[in-house]
C-alpha cells in the first residue's frame, strides 16, 4: 500500500470532481468559481503527476492492473495541460452561447479522469472502464449546446456509433480473455499462442474500437458530423485530448501483450495509417465548413501518428508521441483562430468567412498562415519536424511504401491548407471581426504560433523528453 502515492493524481482528480459537483449544486451562480477551481485542479494534478511519477521506474499496482511508467506519466501530463488550455480558452465561447455552466468544466474533468485511467491501464477491464468514463462525458459534451439541433444531433450520433464500437471492443476483450484466461496484459503476453486465430480476431475487434476512438479511417465516419455539430470549444477538445489517451492505449495494447504478434497487427496498422492519411487529405478538399475541414485534417494527422506506431520500434513510438504533441500545439493555435472569428455575438465557421482576413486582421492572418503551413508540414516549421521524425522511424524499418504514400498525401493535403491561405491572403476583404478577445485566447494563439515558428531553433528538447520512453 505504500505505493498509493503513485495514483495520487487520479485520487486527487476524482475527489476534486466530486467536490466541485457538490459545490456547483449547492452554491448558486458558481460557474465562474467552478471553472477557476477546475483549472487549478488540472494544474495541481499535472504537478502531482510530475512530482510523484515522472522519475520512477516502471511500477505496477493493484494486482498488476495499473502501470505507472515514463510513458504514462508523460502522456498524462500532456493530457492535463491540453485540457487546461482547452478549458481556459473556451470560456468566452461558452458565455456567448449562454452555456457557461458548471457542468462543462466538471464533464471535462471527468473525461480527463477517464483518459488518465486509460493511460495507466495494464488490464483490459481497467482500460475499458477508463474508456467508458471518458466517452460518457464526451457524449454529453457534444450535446452541450442543447438548444442547437445540430449539437444534439452530434451527441446522439456520437453516442450511437461510439456505443457500437465499444461493443465491438468489449467483444474483442472477451475473445482474448477466452483464449488466454486473463485480462491482464502481462499474463496475456505469457499465454500468447500465435496459432490461435481467434486471438487475432480479438486483436482486430479491439483495434476497431480504438481506431474508432481515435477516428482513423475506415472508422472515422462520425468525426466530421460530430466535430461540425458540437460547440467549437468542445470540438477543440475532441480533436486534441482524447487522441492522446487513445494513442497511448494503442501503443500499450499493441506493444505489451501482443508484441510477438507484430506480423499480424502491423499490417492492420499500416492500412489504418495509409487510409487515414490519404482519405483525410482527399476528403478535406471539398469542405466548405472550417470545422469539418479540421475534422478531416485531424483524420489525416492521426494517420501520421499511427504510422509511427506501425513502425514497431521505440523510435517509432517516440516519433508518434512527438507527432501528437506538435499536432496538439498546431490544433490549439488553429482553434484559437477559429474562436476569434466572432462578430456581433456570432461565430463564423465557413471557409469563406476567412476571406481577406490578412487586410483586416494582419496578425491573426499571419498566425493562421504559420499554423497552416506547419500543418501542411513545410519546413522550417514544427509540423515538418513532426513528420520528419515519423518518416525517419518508418524508413528505418524499410517501410518505403508507407513513407512514400504518407509524403505524397502531404502534397494533397497541402492543397487545402493552401486554399485557406489563398482565401485569407489573396481574396477580397469582408467585414471586420471583433477584436476584444480574452487574454487567454490571445495568449494561446501567440504562444502556439511562436512555438511552432521557433521550434527549429531548439528541436532537441522535445526529443530528449520523449527519448526516455522505452516500451520494448
Amino acid at each position: 500500500m505504500e505505493n498509493l502515492q503513485l495514483v495520487l493524481p487520479e485520487i486527487f482528480l476524482s475527489l476534486s470532481i466530486m467536490f466541485l459537483l457538490i459545490l456547483g449544486v449547492f452554491k448558486k451562480n458558481s460557474s465562474r468559481l467552478v471553472q477557476s477551481l477546475s483549472l487549478a485542479v488540472l494544474i495541481v494534478t499535472a504537478v502531482i503527476t510530475f512530482n510523484e511519477t515522472i522519475g520512477i521506474n516502471e511500477t505496477k499496482l493493484f494486482n498488476n492492473s495499473i502501470i505507472i511508467d515514463y510513458l504514462s506519466s508523460l502522456m498524462k501530463i500532456i493530457t492535463l495541460l491540453a485540457a487546461f488550455l482547452v478549458l481556459i480558452i473556451s470560456s468566452n465561447y461558452l458565455k456567448t452561447f449562454q452555456i457557461f455552466k458548471i457542468e462543462y468544466p466538471i464533464l471535462i474533468l471527468s473525461s480527463v479522469l477517464g483518459m488518465m485511467v486509460m493511460i495507466n491501464s495494464n488490464d483490459l477491464i481497467v482500460f475499458y472502464m477508463g474508456l467508458e468514463l471518458q466517452s460518457l462525458a464526451l457524449y454529453v459534451l457534444a450535446t452541450f449546446n442543447r438548444d442547437e439541433i445540430k449539437s444534439s444531433e452530434a451527441g446522439l450520433k456520437y453516442f450511437v456509433l461510439s456505443a457500437l464500437s465499444s461493443g465491438l471492443l468489449l467483444y474483442g476483450c472477451s475473445l482474448i480473455y477466452g483464449f488466454t484466461g486473463s485480462t491482464n496484459f502481462d499474463v496475456i503476453a505469457d499465454q500468447l499462442n500465435s496459432n490461435e486465430y481467434a486471438l487475432t480476431f480479438g486483436i482486430v475487434f479491439i483495434l476497431v474500437g480504438l481506431a474508432f476512438k481515435i477516428s482513423a479511417v475506415p472508422f472515422h465516419m462520425w468525426a466530421p458530423d460530430v466535430y461540425e455539430g458540437s460547440p467549437t470549444s468542445v470540438t477543440l477538445f475532441f480533436t486534441m485530448v482524447p487522441k492522446i489517451a487513445a494513442l497511448t492505449v494503442f501503443i500499450r495494447f499493441l506493444y505489451v501483450p501482443f508484441l510477438n504478434l507484430i506480423d499480424q497487427w502491423q499490417m492492420i496498422l499500416i492500412f489504418l495509417s495509409i487510409a487515414s492519411m490519404l482519405f483525410g487529405a482527399i476528403a478535406a478538399i471539398g469542405q466548405t465548413n472550417l470545422k469539418r475541414l479540421v475534422a478531416y485534417s485531424s483524420i489525416g494527422h492521426v494517420g501520421y501518428a499511427l504510422a509511427g506506431v506501425a513502425a514497431g520500434t521505440n523510435d517509432g513510438i517516440q516519433s508518434s508521441v512527438i507527432y501528437i504533441t506538435i499536432y496538439i500545439l498546431m490544433n490549439l493555435g488553429l482553434f484559437s483562430c477559429l474562436l476569434m472569428l466572432k462578430r456581433d455575438n456570432n461565430y463564423y465557421e465557413k471557409i469563406d468567412d476567412l476571406s481577406g482576413l490578412s487586410k483586416n486582421h494582419p496578425m491573426l492572418a499571419l498566425s493562421l498562415l504559420i499554423i497552416l503551413f506547419s500543418l501542411a508540414g513545410i519546413p522550417p516549421l514544427a509540423g515538418f519536424f513532426a513528420k520528419f521524425y515519423v518518416f525517419k522511424a518508418v524508413i528505418e524499418q524499410s517501410m518505403y511504401f508507407l513513407a512514400i504514400v504518407g509524403l505524397l498525401s502531404t502534397v494533397v493535403a497541402a492543397f487545402y491548407y493552401l486554399r485557406l491561405i489563398k482565401i485569407m491572403y489573396f481574396d477580397e476583404q469582408k467585414e471586420k471581426y471583433d477584436t476584444d478577445h480574452g487574454f487567454w485566447l490571445k495568449f494561446s494563439l501567440t504562444a502556439s504560433t511562436l512555438l511552432i515558428l521557433i521550434y527549429f531553433i531548439f528541436p532537441s528538447q522535445l526529443i530528449e523528453v520523449v527519448s526516455r520512453i522505452n516500451i520494448i
Binding site: 503551413f373 513545410i378 519546413p379 522550417p380 515538418f384 520528419f388 518518416f391 525517419k392 524508413i395 528505418e396 518505403y400 513513407a403 512514400i404 509524403l407 505524397l408 502531404t410 502534397v411 497541402a414 492543397f415 493552401l418 491561405i421 489563398k422 491572403y425 489573396f426 527549429f456 528541436p459 532537441s460 526529443i463 530528449e464
Partner: protein, 494 residues
C-alpha cells in the same frame, strides 16, 4: 576565422525582416521600410564580397565551415562554401538588393510585407547554397516555397492564384521524394553530413533509386522538360521582383543540387542516368526554344527561354568534363544576371503600358532610346553573343558536350540558332518597326533607379564576357577535384 560569416549571411536578411516587421509603416510613406531592406541586403552583399576576397580558390576543401549540434545524435547544423557554392551566394546577395530597388515602380500595396518576404527568401536561398548537411539543405530548399508562394499569390497578376498553387504543389511533390531519399541515406550511412558522405560514399545498390528521388526534386525545380510547365505560369503572374528572384536564383538551386549531390553522392547512378539527362536537356533546348518562338507574351517568352537555358546547364553538368561543369556554373551565373535583367526590362515597359503582349509595342526605339540600348545588350547576352557572359557559358558547355557526345552537342548547338531567332525576333518586334500604337508616345525613358539597376546588371554581364577569369579561377579547383573524385569512385566501385 572565428567570425561566423556564413551564418551571418544567412541570418542578416531575416533580422532585417524582423526589424521591418516591428517597424510601423505608415501607408503613404514607406521609405523607412525600403531603406531598412535595402541597407540590410546591401550589407549582406558587401559581406559576401568580403567572403569572396577571403576565399582561397586553390583548394577544394570546404571553407568557413561552421558546425554546431542541432538535433543531438541526429543532425548537425553545418555550413561551408567551396568554389562551386560561393558564386551562387554572391549572385543571391547581388540580385536581392536590385530586386528591392526595383519595387519602387511595381509594388503598390503592402510594400513592407513584400520586402519581408524578399528578405526571408534571401536568407533561405543563401542557406541552400552553403548548407553541408542534407537535412539542413532540404529545410532551406523547401522553406523557400512559403515566401515565393506569397509573393506570387499576393502581388501577382490576374491568374496569380492558379500559378501560385501550381508552383507550390509541383515543387512540393518533387521534393517529398527527396526527403525519403535523405532519410534513407541517413539510415544507410548513419549521417547526413555531406562531407562525410563524400568520403564514405553510398552503397551502390541504392544509388539508382536515391538518384531518381533527388532528380525528381531537382528536375521540377530546374525545371526540365516535361515538368517545366509551372515555370511560365509562375513567371508570368509573379510581380517583376518575384520573377527576377525566381529566374535568377531559385532555378539555380536545382543546378547547384545536381552538381553537389547528384554528381557528388551518386556517381554510379549519374553515369547510368546521363543519357536520360542528355535526352531531356536536348528536348528542353530545342522544344522550348520553338515554344518561345511562338509566344505573344514577353514574360512567357523569357520564361521559356529560361527553360532552354537551363537545358544547357543540365547538359553541361552531366558531361562530367571540366569545361562542361565550369560552363554550366558560368551559364547559371550569367543566366541569373541576364534573365533578371530581361524580366526587369519587361517590367519597365509593363509599368508604363500595363501590357506584356508583344503586339502592344513596336517602334519604341526613338521614344525610349536608353531603354532600347540596354534591352539590346541583354538580348544579345541571352543569345550568347561573344563578349557577353552568356557566350562563355554556352561555349564551354558545348565544348564539354563535344568531348562527351558528338550527336548531343550538335543538336544542342542548333538550339543556339533558335535561341538567337526568338530573342532577336522579340527585340525586333518590340523595339524596332513602325510605331503603330500611338499610346506608346507617352512613354518616358528609364528613370534613375531603373537605369541604376539595369546598369548594375549590364556591367558584370559585359565584364565576365570579356574576362571570365575571376569566375573560372574560383570554381576551377573545386570542379577538377569533384571530377577526380567522381572518376575515382566510379573506378573503385565497378
Amino acid at each position: 576565422m572565428n567570425f561566423p560569416i556564413l551564418s551571418s549571411l544567412i541570418l542578416l536578411p531575416s533580422i532585417g525582416a524582423l526589424f521591418l516587421f516591428f517597424t510601423k509603416s505608415d501607408k503613404k510613406n514607406n521609405f523607412t521600410g525600403k531603406y531598412v531592406a535595402l541597407f540590410t541586403s546591401a550589407v549582406n552583399f558587401f559581406l559576401s564580397i568580403y567572403l569572396w576576397i577571403l576565399f582561397d580558390p586553390t583548394t577544394s576543401e570546404f571553407q568557413f565551415v561552421e558546425e554546431r549540434i542541432w538535433i543531438k545524435d541526429l543532425i548537425n547544423y553545418k555550413v561551408g562554401v567551396d568554389g562551386i557554392s560561393i558564386l551562387f551566394i554572391l549572385l543571391t546577395t547581388f540580385i536581392t538588393p536590385l530586386c528591392i530597388v526595383s519595387v519602387n515602380n511595381s509594388i503598390k500595396e503592402r510594400l513592407s510585407e513584400f520586402l519581408i518576404a524578399v528578405l526571408i527568401m534571401e536568407s533561405f536561398m543563401i542557406g541552400v547554397f552553403c548548407s553541408l548537411d542534407l537535412v539542413i539543405f532540404y529545410l532551406f530548399f523547401e522553406a523557400g516555397l512559403i515566401p515565393m508562394f506569397l509573393i506570387i499569390g499576393i502581388w501577382g497578376g490576374a491568374r496569380r492564384v492558379y500559378s501560385a498553387f501550381k508552383f507550390f504543389l509541383y515543387t512540393l511533390l518533387g521534393s517529398v521524394l527527396m526527403l525519403v531519399a535523405i532519410i534513407t541515406i541517413y539510415w544507410l550511412n548513419g549521417t547526413t553530413d555531406v562531407v562525410e558522405l563524400y568520403n564514405s560514399g553510398i552503397d551502390i545498390k541504392y544509388q539508382n533509386l536515391l538518384w531518381l528521388a533527388f532528380f525528381s526534386s531537382f528536375a521540377v525545380k530546374t525545371p526540365m522538360w516535361p515538368v517545366h510547365t509551372w515555370l511560365p505560369d509562375a513567371h508570368v503572374e509573379a510581380p517583376t521582383a518575384g520573377s527576377v528572384l525566381l529566374a535568377a536564383i531559385l532555378l539555380k538551386m536545382a543546378g547547384y543540387g545536381f552538381i553537389r549531390f547528384s554528381l557528388g553522392l551518386f556517381p554510379a547512378a549519374s553515369e547510368i542516368f546521363t543519357p536520360l539527362i542528355y535526352t531531356l536537356s536536348v528536348i528542353a533546348i530545342i522544344f522550348t526554344s520553338f515554344i518561345a518562338l511562338m509566344q505573344e507574351d514577353m514574360k512567357k517568352l523569357i520564361a521559356y527561354s529560361s527553360v532552354a537555358h537551363m537545358g544547357y546547364v543540365t547538359l553541361g553538368i552531366f558531361t562530367i568534363q571540366q569545361q562542361g561543369i565550369e560552363g554550366s556554373i558560368i551559364q547559371m551565373i550569367s543566366h541569373g544576371l541576364v534573365s533578371a535583367a530581361l524580366f526587369l526590362c519587361v517590367g519597365v515597359v509593363y509599368d508604363r503600358m500595363h501590357s506584356r503582349l508583344i503586339d502592344t509595342y513596336g517602334g519604341i526605339v526613338s521614344i525610349i532610346p536608353k531603354y532600347s540600348i540596354l534591352f539590346m545588350l541583354f538580348t544579345l547576352a541571352a543569345l550568347g553573343l561573344p563578349g557577353t557572359s552568356g557566350f562563355v557559358g554556352e561555349f564551354l558547355i558545348l565544348m564539354g558536350a563535344f568531348k562527351d557526345n558528338f550527336l548531343v552537342a550538335v543538336i544542342a548547338s542548333l538550339g543556339v540558332i533558335i535561341g538567337a531567332a526568338y530573342m532577336l525576333w522579340l527585340y525586333k518586334r518590340v523595339v524596332f518597326g513602325k510605331l503603330i500604337n500611338t499610346d506608346l508616345k507617352q512613354m518616358f525613358d528609364l528613370n534613375r533607379s531603373e537605369l541604376f539597376i539595369l546598369s548594375c546588371l549590364a556591367v558584370p554581364t559585359l565584364f565576365f564576357g570579356f574576362y571570365p577569369d575571376p569566375l573560372i579561377n574560383t570554381i576551377e579547383v573545386s570542379i577538377s577535384d569533384l571530377i577526380d573524385q567522381y572518376n575515382f569512385k566510379l573506378a573503385s566501385k565497378t
